[in-house]
């Protein structure tokens, strides 16, 4: 007979009602009743449940969910996880922290998931952090890149937050460093030395706003214009003309809340003489070319996985092909960056728990954490290793670098002719050369 107080999951029909070891039922009667029920109905089924959470209404979340499903299907075709069948439980965060917390509690307490993978919006991640830390369920972040994800949690109180990891993308402090490498590449290529920097007025861009201008100056490049834009900006004429007035050769723009289509259209109409680089989350969608009616041409964005345009590892191609076969007719027709990271996270988890020999996080979270820290996984988005507990970004995915110290697991893609995503940087991964408009 299973017993609540020891935290062993109790099963009722197909849904598992898991009650944490630190949970005790306040009313003794209720406790007795629940225990009895558990005893009658309980026979732990053999499934391993992978919980996924993301904004499923958006391409990013939908691509991530598809990728998680693909990974689970692939595992089940082989031996599952620890020879047990794997089931995906996916929940929609709606990008709302309150909704996400409800969904997460349901996944843990009713569905009895063994791991949670996902979260794209940083505030959603922030919203479920405390809960996830309290229940000890392994949590692999695959979307949000804000460094506070680990610096405010794992780094602050290791014992409490040790079950939180980020398997991708590299955090935005590291992304800012990667962006400097890319700026130097552009400087070498075109002789551009003057850069503008504009960003969503949102917390996720702060690592860029705080660091990137300084980093650029450090390597001898000039930052000639800086601005922050309220989410929902719709008049792009002054934005572009300010960049032009500042004589920038290129603008690094960081948009997730703002959709840069209007900027691109206005830029093209005026044939402004600067290139548009940086990070543009809406532009990462494989549907953005059609959505923007081709205005996407020439814009670049960094994104882990490089939209499948480059063979980052030997895993990249097979994953993208399998995704296209299964979901190529759906939206999104490519996994998007969160999909790459989510797909990898499922395997990272599998390897770790198989090494640990347990998925019982309530009893063995320390063992699972230790094994996650041992991760050395060749994933679709790159090599995955984690920072150790005592480093600056504990439990965060490490950046990979080439011989020159250039960050390689944050590639840059560009929309090129006929709506093709091409990887243009880093050079050893590039599927095409970086191109500029004819008016530049």
């Amino acid at each position: 007979m299973t017993n609540n107080d020891t935290g062993i999951p109790v099963t009722r029909n197909e849904r598992k009602a898991t009650i944490d070891r630190r949970t005790f039922l306040g009313a003794a009667g209720a406790g007795a009743v629940a225990t009895t029920l558990a005893g009658c109905l309980g026979d732990e089924d053999d499934l391993i449940r992978v919980g996924h959470i993301g904004p499923l209404q958006q391409d990013m979340g939908a691509g991530s969910e598809n990728s998680a499903q693909l990974a689970v299907d692939q595992l089940n075709e082989e031996d599952g996880i620890m020879d047990r069948e794997v089931e995906l439980v996916s929940a929609d965060s709606v990008g709302d922290p309150g909704e996400a917390l409800t969904a997460t509690e349901e996944m843990v307490e009713q569905d009895g998931v063994d791991v949670i993978i996902g979260t794209f919006v940083t505030e959603v991640m922030q919203g479920i952090t405390d809960y996830v830390a309290d229940v000890d369920v392994p949590f692999l972040i695959t979307g949000s890149a804000d460094p506070v994800t680990v610096t405010d949690t794992v780094a602050e109180d290791y014992d409490r937050f040790k079950n939180i990891f980020r398997s991708g993308p590299i955090n935005s402090d590291l992304q800012a460093e990667g962006m400097v490498d890319y700026a130097e590449f552009l400087a070498d290529e075109y002789g551009w030395t003057q850069f503008a920097h504009i960003a969503d007025d949102a917390a996720w861009t702060e690592p860029f706003s705080d660091n990137l201008p300084g980093y650029l100056e450090d390597v001898g490049l000039d930052v000639v214009h800086e601005d922050r834009l309220a989410p929902g900006t719709d008049d792009w004429a002054p934005v572009n003309s300010d960049i032009d007035d500042a004589d920038a050769d290129a603008v690094f723009r960081f948009f997730a809340h703002n959709v840069g289509t209007g900027m691109l259209v206005n830029w093209r109409e005026n044939e402004y003489e600067f290139a548009i680089e940086g990070i543009h989350v809406p532009g990462m969608s494989p549907e953005f070319w059609d959505d923007s009616e081709g205005a996407a041409l020439y814009e670049t964005t960094s994104q882990s996985g490089a939209a499948g345009a480059a063979d980052i590892t030997s895993e990249t191609g097979p994953f993208v092909d399998a995704y296209a076969e299964e979901y190529g007719d759906d939206r999104p027709s490519l996994p998007m960056y969160m999909g790459f990271n989510t797909y990898d996270a499922v395997f990272v988890y599998k390897d770790a728990v198989e090494r640990a020999g347990t998925v019982d996080y309530q009893a063995d979270i320390d063992t699972i954490v230790d094994e996650l820290l041992e991760t050395d996984h060749e994933g679709a988005a790159g090599e995955i290793e984690f920072y150790g507990p005592d480093e600056d970004y504990p439990h965060d995915v490490r950046e990979t670098t080439d011989d020159d110290g250039v960050i390689t697991n944050f590639p840059v893609t560009q929309w090129q002719d006929d709506g093709e995503f091409e990887c243009v940087y880093p050079e050893h991964l590039a599927s095409a050369d970086h191109i500029t408009p004819e008016w530049l």
Binding site: R12, A17, R22, T23, F24, L25, G26, A27, G29, A30, V33, A34, L37, L56, Q57, D92, V94, D96, P97, G98, E99, L101, T102, E105, E106, E109, Q110, T122, E123, Q126, G127, T129, D130, Y131, D134, D146, V148, D152, D201, A202, A203, W204, A230
Partner: protein, 358 residues
């Protein structure tokens, strides 16, 4: 009008016992009404037992959330419902309290105990309430509503404007409630404890607001709604009483805000200050029945249970469409609120049954 004249069954005699002792404080009830109240109370008090028996443990979370929103809906009701000065910005008060807790935890001391942050936060809600009420309650008609609405917009944008302090859209984590009560450690990590930590303040506030609403103060507030000139002509300073109603409202709003902050564990603009939150409070009060205190409780439980448990069949976003459609239907077909309707049906029933309640 009291017990002596009644000839009902055992239910009536119990209700009469209540009427004799408390009727003058909280309003008199007939048998069925009394049964509804006691029945609901019993169902709520033993919810951990029946939710676990029925295997719907998740419902406990929904009921805890509904308790918090019931506090907010009642608090809105004592001000807007009773005086007729409709506030569209009440989330500022709960959000203000929540953000006070968040700022204390983030910038003063992360280890400040709940028993310190909570009273300060409620006080902050009171101050914010006065800041809004004192200048705006001299306004009449739509201007008061507009001022409260705009106040809501300002507070929402402030969280972005001062994102260095507030965390912008990410908000600020505040964690769970932990305090010692009679030597025992109380933490809302446990779902059952969490439920009671949210339910008990709701019940206490309900009793307190019912008492006020049935008192002379409540009568004056209603009189202001019905005919402010007449009240003023009687020599009563209506502005003073309207400000009182805001004070009466701000305190429970603050309590609700603090509880909600710890329920979510994170305070952010989306879940606390977005204008939708103010409208939801109003919707709950209106669905239940404005200016009744008990109605908004029923409204809050109905709306939250519908939203979290029932309307999910329409999909994650579709359920909002369904929910607002329900609210619209209530507004069109049962303008006085579902629970007021139920209350009156029970009142009539009691009369037919033999009890003459008035």
């Amino acid at each position: 009008m009291s017990s002596d004249t009644q000839t009902g069954g055992p239910l009536e005699s119990v209700a009469d016992g209540y009427n004799d002792r408390f009727g003058h404080l909280f309003g008199e009830l007939n048998g069925p009404q009394f049964a509804l109240l006691i029945g609901s109370l019993a169902v709520l008090l033993v919810a951990p037992v029946w939710t676990s028996l029925l295997g719907v443990g998740g419902l406990l979370r929904t009921l805890a959330l509904a308790s918090i929103w019931a506090i907010l809906a009642m608090a809105w009701d004592i001000q807007s419902g009773y005086t007729g000065y409709i506030s569209f910005g009440h989330a500022v008060l709960s959000g203000g309290a929540a953000y006070t807790t968040a700022m204390l935890v983030a910038h003063v001391n992360p280890d400040l105990p709940f028993l310190v942050t909570a009273p300060i936060s409620v006080l902050a809600a009171l101050v914010i309430g006065l800041v809004i009420a004192v200048p705006s309650l001299r306004l009449r008609g739509p201007y008061f509503s507009l001022v409260t609405f705009v106040a809501g917009l300002i507070f929402y944008q402030l969280t972005y404007a001062f994102s260095g302090y507030t965390g912008g859209e990410l908000g600020q984590r505040v964690g769970r409630i932990e305090f010692e009560l009679a030597g025992a450690q109380v933490t809302t990590f446990d779902p059952v404890t969490r439920y009671y930590v949210m339910l008990v303040p709701m019940l206490v506030i309900a009793v307190a607001l019912l008492y006020v609403a049935r008192s002379n103060v409540g009568m004056i507030l209603i009189a202001i709604r019905e005919n402010e000139e007449a009240v003023a002509a009687a020599g009563i300073d209506t502005t003073k009483f309207k400000i009182w109603s805001f004070v009466l409202s701000s305190i429970p709003m603050g309590v609700g805000g603090v509880l909600l902050a710890h329920f979510y564990g994170t305070v952010n603009p989306l879940n606390f200050l977005l204008v939708d939150r103010s409208i939801e409070i109003i919707a709950m009060a209106v669905v239940g029945g404005m200016s009744s205190i008990l109605g908004p409780i029923g409204g809050a439980f109905l709306v939250i249970v519908l939203r979290e448990e029932v309307l999910g069949v329409f999909g994650v976003t579709g359920r909002w469409v369904a929910l607002w459609t329900v609210v619209l239907l209530v507004l069109v077909f049962a303008r006085d609120g579902l629970f007021r309707k139920l209350w009156h049906v029970l009142g009539d029933w009691g009369r037919i049954d033999g009890g003459d309640d008035e």
